[in-house]
């Protein structure tokens, strides 16, 4: 067992501590004018010169789609990639709830400042004030932009936009399009992007996956990508590279992410020098449909709004296998209502998730494997009538019935928490530029705006803010203020990256072992879920950190990948992504181990209040943890966070 | 297809109503047949109107058939490989018989013209004796049978054609959906039944 110094302040055998870093791009001074001043100080590229510059955008979700469309429209040459068959498929499409904006159309006291305040507080004081304020400012422009694009937001009979409240805030600032807001916003961005593709301003490469980053003279100058249909490996060069490749939730194998979502692009960039910040901030959503068996490949989220009328309970008796209607009222434990009488079933996501886990760990879980709790609408049906419940939740009930085959009007739903968003990501400065000059990171792929916990309906806001409004001027500033030499495909840096990528794929195919790629992914996911999921302990994390390298070693010895690399080979794609998850998972656990406090989506059981609430340690941990790749123990660089506007306070929901 | 179909549909409606005059007796029917050849007189000369109508109908039939041919070719090209598991056919019988039904109707029209217009195949074959010509043809059971099959095909063709045309011409909307469907059924039944009444009546001896 390696010896460790006191956690948080020093290092350990798992990591070392390097110099502190700072976000030097953000202006200081009054927070209201920082973004304006940054835009004003940014250098501009003459419109006539823009076409001489090429930008690579990887990913076509809200952030990537919006960025590609906007950069192309401004005149840059854009080369864009997505691994799906069409840019319209990116996983932003699955977001249900809505998008926040400080429009104050309800006259209910909302403002840019309040959205800023809610987001900093909701992020448990682990986000930068400058970034969050800018996000709140831009939020209103996003709605204008999307309405003009034809996004069919819900409207009132007056013809004006409808809004609702969401995720524990007290104002109605969430714009929505039934339960398909992400889809509608993404289609808007996709249409804008399609227009630029048709105009020849964007060279679109669907079914093409970025496998590595090309860094020349310390600057990001291109990527190496694989055509997933022909298997051809091709280098693409540019003046700047934008990663919009989403989060790493699939390190857990089972999550609400799309099956293809992966961390390869960000992890490869990290290996080439980009700092990775706060990977331990993962968000777990309490109302997902539990897994039904070993074969399960994916979890499905149901809107949190269900908790408004449903009551959550488990049998009081351990291992009770009676069907729910056979369990009398007196033998049920409505544990959220019991423990948190003020908020009851509406406690924040992380608290609801953890409470469910504790019940199941204790042997009171229901359904297959005892991994589920009841979400019961019997009282709501009695109170409002079945028709009213149908009107309010009909879509969700139908989805539940489709997946489980059970009728939630008659039998209580079973729910269990699942990973669905990751707040951590590549470290970026105020300009969204990573620690590799010329490499920009937008959307869920970066770490910038949500701190340790993201509020509901804020992911869509951030993706579009980054893509439409923040990235384009900042990318222009980089190009205008940097003297970029020409690079050629013969550059040794290019050929060596191609060699590495090809070599790795070749090795994966050569092993010809006796385990499938998925079996490793599943095992890694279970390990991380158990030890670095909803509740984390030092002992558990150390266990995971001991096991992951073994698993990785076993992977490279025993994985079996059929076929060859010169064809459409989905097993090879998978194996290559899993290889990166097997490296990333270790950093995730190291970050969780080092942060010996609880905050937002990171709950260390050692650090809780007597009531079992997350207990922050602002004295030691009010910083963003940015990790540097070394090949061995990573180096921690701390970016201290300063709170000039929102005062540090402990959350309290009991 | 929609426009030419609509033209022919209108003609069929008038044609069918005219046929029913046979129930008023020989004189009335022959008079009607004669009148058809002199519509518009004296403004128009002799059978000008008739020829004009024949021209319009010929153009409509030719265009209808040409588009049907082109559409079929394009559609077969767009789906070159069939499913090995037969598809569920949600579409009604009428939809699935548009192509074959169309061919049956085309063959019927040729026979029909030779029978009652050119009189080449008519057993009576007396110019101007429309009533007797009709009776002589339909007294033969297989002529009547062919006629009835063709009319059934026609009914089905109209049933899908009417409503399909409504959609092609953009007059179809959610609000009108039900009415259009009823309209299609009523027209199809009316026209097919209206035409079939005559030969059945002849065969049954009600008209002789």
């Amino acid at each position: 067992m390696p010896e460790t110094t006191s956690l948080g302040s020093g290092g350990s055998a798992y990591w070392t501590v390097g110099d502190d870093i700072a976000d030097t791009a953000a202006p200081d001074g009054p927070i209201e004018t920082r973004w304006d001043r940054r835009k004003f100080s940014a250098k501009l590229v003459n419109p006539a010169n823009r076409r001489k510059h090429t930008v690579i955008v990887v990913g076509t979700g809200l952030a990537g789609g919006a960025a590609g469309a906007t950069l192309a429209e401004q005149g840059y040459n854009v080369i864009q990639f997505c691994f799906q068959d069409s840019p319209r498929r990116a996983h932003s499409i699955a977001a249900q709830g809505g998008i926040n904006a400080a429009k104050n159309y309800r006259n209910d006291g909302d403002s840019v400042y309040r959205l800023f305040y809610d987001t900093v507080k909701g992020g448990d004081f682990r986000a930068r004030e400058s970034n969050v304020y800018r996000l709140a400012q831009i939020s209103t422009q996003i709605i204008d932009q999307c309405v003009a694009q034809g996004v069919p937001f819900a409207r009132e009979y007056s013809g004006l936009l409808d809004t609702r409240s969401f995720g524990g805030v007290q104002v109605q600032r969430t714009f929505y399009a039934r339960g398909q807001t992400g889809q509608q916003l993404l289609i808007g961005a996709y249409q804008a992007l399609s227009r630029q593709i048709d105009a020849g301003a964007v060279e679109m490469h669907p079914r093409t996956e970025m496998l590595d980053l090309i860094v020349i003279d310390g600057r990001a100058r291109g990527i190496v990508a694989r055509d997933l249909v022909t298997g051809k490996i091709t280098p693409y060069l540019a003046d700047a590279v934008v990663l919009a490749t989403g989060g790493y939730g699939n390190v857990f194998f089972l999550s609400t992410n799309a099956k293809g979502s992966n961390t390869t692009a960000t992890w490869r960039a990290h290996r080439r020098g980009a700092l990775f910040a706060n990977p331990c901030y993962t968000q777990i959503h309490p109302t997902c449909i539990p897994r039904s068996g070993e074969y399960q490949g994916k979890l499905t989220l149901m809107s949190e709004s269900l908790r408004n009328d449903g009551r959550i309970w488990v049998p009081k008796q351990k291992g009770d296998t009676r069907s729910p209607d056979q369990i009398p009222e007196a033998e049920r434990d409505y544990y959220l209502e019991r423990i948190y009488p003020a908020f009851g079933n509406l406690v924040p996501r992380d608290i609801a998730s953890r409470a469910a886990k504790y019940q199941c760990d204790d042997g009171r879980g229901v359904g297959p494997g005892g991994l589920g709790v009841y979400l019961d609408f019997a009282d709501a049906i009695k109170r409002m009538g079945e028709d009213k419940v149908r009107e309010k939740y009909g879509n969700l009930f139908e989805m539940y019935e489709r997946i489980t085959g059970e009728d939630p009007y008659k039998v209580p739903m079973r729910i269990y928490p699942a990973v669905h968003y990751t707040m951590g990501g590549l470290w970026v400065d105020y300009d969204l530029q990573s620690s590799i000059p010329g490499l920009f990171v937008v959307g869920e792929a970066n770490f910038s705006d949500h701190g340790a916990n993201r509020l509901g309906a804020s992911a869509l806001m951030q993706g579009l803010a980054d893509g439409y409004f923040v990235l384009p001027p900042m990318l222009g500033n980089y190009i205008a203020s940097t003297k970029l030499g020409s690079v050629s495909l013969d550059d040794p840096a290019v050929t060596s990256v191609i060699g590495e990528v090809t070599g790795r794929l070749g090795r994966l195919l050569e092993i010809n072992g006796d385990r499938t790629p998925d079996s490793f992914h599943r095992e890694l996911g279970e390990l991380i879920w158990d030890e670095c999921g909803m509740g984390r302990t030092e002992a558990g994390l150390r266990k995971a950190l001991a096991r992951i390298p073994e698993l990785r070693e076993e992977f490279w010895r025993r994985v079996k990948v059929p076929g060859d690399s010169g064809e459409l080979n989905q097993s090879l794609e998978k194996a290559n992504r899993i290889a990166d998850f097997l490296e990333f998972g270790e950093l995730l656990c190291i970050d969780a181990l080092h942060r010996a406090e609880s905050c937002g989506g990171h709950f260390r059981e050692e650090s809780q209040t007597p009531d079992g609430e997350a207990l922050r340690d602002d004295e030691h941990f009010a910083y963003a943890a940015a990790w540097e790749y070394t090949g061995g123990a990573p180096v921690l660089h701390r970016e201290p966070l300063q709170f000039d506007y929102v005062h540090l306070a402990q959350r309290n929901y009991s | 297809m929609a426009v030419t179909g609509a033209v022919m549909l209108l003609y069929l409606l008038v044609h069918m109503l005219g046929n029913l005059k046979i129930f008023y007796g020989r004189e009335s029917f022959d008079e009607y047949a004669h009148w058809l050849r002199s519509i518009g007189v004296p403004a128009l000369h002799g059978a000008w109107f008739l020829w004009l109508m024949r021209a319009v109908l010929t153009v409509a039939v030719v265009l209808h058939a040409t588009s049907a041919y082109q559409l079929s070719r394009r559609d077969l090209k767009a789906r070159p490989q069939k499913y090995s598991h037969r598809q569920r056919l949600e579409a009604s019988y009428a939809v699935n018989t548009m192509r074959y039904g169309g061919i049956i109707i085309a063959l019927f029209i040729i026979y029909h013209l030779l029978d009652f217009t050119a009189l080449t195949l008519n057993r009576n074959g007396v110019e101007g004796a429309a009533y007797d010509n009709v009776v002589s043809s339909f007294s033969v059971w297989w002529v009547t049978l062919f006629y009835i099959i063709a009319m059934l095909a026609l009914g089905l063709h109209i049933h899908h054609g009417f409503w399909s045309a409504a959609r092609t011409l953009g007059v179809h909307s959610a609000a009108r959906e039900k009415n259009l469907k009823i309209g299609a059924t009523v027209l199809a039944v009316l026209i097919a039944a209206g035409f079939m009444v005559v030969p059945i009546a002849v065969l049954a001896g009600l008209v002789d």
Partner: protein, 247 residues
């Protein structure tokens, strides 16, 4: 339950392809159709065979990536359901299930059940958008949109671009897909300035891609997992005729 699967296997676009039979035991009725294929693929890998290639991503019925013709029906027997949301409880022990790719000249097979649907992207690129320069949009409330119009636009905007309509259409026609986008954008006041060019260009692109013509069979709307109605096709025709007269 135990199943017999007959799956279309085709190594590449140039290969002929054939139905291949697999026996699969111990299928749980709670599995989704794709999870069932996952299980088959895990077995095939260990047996040293190439797993069945199929497109899929979100597995919650919204990305539109998955799609196969199951027993002659696009996305299988359950109405308004994508393949990923179809569960094995729709089938019975001992069933023989035929699985084939979308078949249409405009959707060539790339491998096994994977087809190329890029024609859809080009149809959208030809006019399925509202041109708005980022940052130039007026205040969102400057143009109210009556709720029924907004709702109807939304209903059409729910299209996920999966291609089931084309797969189900005996003519391989893309009318339902194109009409959904035309209807969504042309209904809205924001879409009005480009109303005529949009429908003209999209129809022209649709024809160029080699999709068949619409004969109003209605198969598309039954296969559509999002229930895009046939009236959208009527609307497309109306918009098209209107655009022709305004040329």
């Amino acid at each position: 339950m135990n199943l017999t699967l007959r799956i279309w296997r085709q190594r590449g676009p140039e290969d002929r392809g054939a139905m291949v039979t697999y026996e699969l035991a111990d299928v749980s009725p709670d599995m989704s159709f794709l999870e069932m294929l996952d299980v088959l693929n895990e077995r095939l890998i260990l047996e040293g065979e190439d797993p069945v290639a199929f497109d899929h991503d979100c597995r919650e019925g919204i990305c539109g990536m998955c799609g196969m013709v199951i027993n002659g029906q696009a996305h299988g027997p359950r109405d308004r359901t994508t393949t990923c949301q179809l569960h094995m409880r729709e089938f019975a022990d001992g069933d023989v299930i035929d699985v084939e790719p979308w078949r249409a000249a405009a959707f060539p097979v790339m491998r096994d059940l994977v087809v190329d649907r890029s024609g859809f992207d080009r149809i959208i690129g030809s006019g399925g958008y509202i041109s708005v320069v980022t940052g130039s949009a007026p205040e969102a409330h400057s143009t109210p949109v009556p709720k029924p119009i907004a709702d109807a636009a939304f209903d059409n905007a729910t299209c996920i671009g999966c291609g089931a309509c084309v797969a189900a259409c005996p003519n391989g026609s893309a009318m339902l897909f194109t009409s959904a986008k035309v209807t969504h954008l042309n209904l809205l006041p924001q879409g009005a300035p480009e109303r005529e060019s949009r429908v003209r260009d999209m129809v022209a692109q649709m024809d160029e891609e080699g999709f068949g013509g619409c004969t109003n069979t209605g198969e598309c709307t039954v296969a559509c997992p999002k229930g895009i109605p046939l009236t959208s096709i009527g609307n497309l025709n109306r918009e098209y005729l209107r655009a022709l007269t305004k040329r």
